[in-house]
Symmetry: C2
């Protein structure tokens, strides 16, 4: 039974706040850089903890071409992938919204968090993290996605229709 | 012994021409799209054949922060990674040069090819493909890199100093 509307607070995306859910992907993060290529490049390793090799999984690079979400909107569901991480990087850079809840039992509406990724940021959801499908803003756009590819179907959904969760960017 | 200068011809980067060396990464390529996210996204799978799981390898997402190469310049070496692929995606989009030779014995200078990646393109080198280190142009910039991470050292170099190979963008 829905008890009124629950509006999510939009927080700025920041690595420490996002740590329970995965990684913020942004230039200059990751391990301390190494100089490579005869001095013509600095290499920052491990921008995100890609976790895509479990149970015969392979890394896959895909592209999501997104339509912008009309705002405000009511969230219909969250989903999770128990066997692998999933990274989203807008290409070219653009802001987007991330709605997320910690791994574990299906989240209550109070457990949902909403982050605004600013231009130049991406996210990597750790395996098992509940997340809303991609929420593109403005003109939509393309997103590079790095996730686990395997023969199994590793997607579980949880409906939010009864919970009355709304967001506005 | 160097016999004169050998100047590479700069070809436009195009999937068919690049096929012997790996994949051209660009929006809209890959498998036919599937509609996902309640109609709010089209998913194009497998933009590149990531091959990073051999011999205990794991997928790694890194960032190379590159300085532009002065032009013209003499190529000093090519290298190859026998156990895994390596993908480069400029972020944000920008043009860059790719110098490459087919897998197999160390290449002669006549086997080297040079492609200009235009804005919005990336490349994925198939395992074993000889390639020059990253050649950024203009202001340099950042490149997302997806390659194989493992404890072994999977990089073999071949000097081009004697071959007198030059390129100009």
């Amino acid at each position: 039974m829905t008890v009124g509307q629950h509006w999510l607070t939009v927080e700025p995306l920041e690595a420490r706040a996002f740590a329970p859910f995965g990684d913020v992907i942004e230039a200059g993060r990751g391990a301390a850089p190494r100089t490579i290529n005869e001095g013509f490049a600095q290499r920052f390793d491990a921008l995100a903890r890609l976790d895509v090799g479990r149970d015969g999984g392979q890394a896959m690079l895909s592209l999501f071409r997104a339509k912008p979400r009309p705002m405000p909107f009511q969230l219909r569901l969250v989903e999770r992938h128990l066997r692998g991480s999933q990274a989203f990087i807008p290409y070219p850079p653009q802001r987007f919204l991330v709605v997320i809840a910690p791994p574990g039992p299906a989240p209550t509406r109070e457990q949902l968090r909403c982050f605004m990724a600013s231009e130049g940021q991406g996210v990597n959801y750790a395996a098992g993290t509940w997340h809303h499908p991609l929420i593109a803003l403005d003109d939509g756009g393309d997103f590079l996605v790095i996730d686990r590819h395997a023969d199994d179907d590793d997607c579980e959904e949880h409906s939010l229709l009864e919970a009355g969760v709304w967001v506005k960017a």
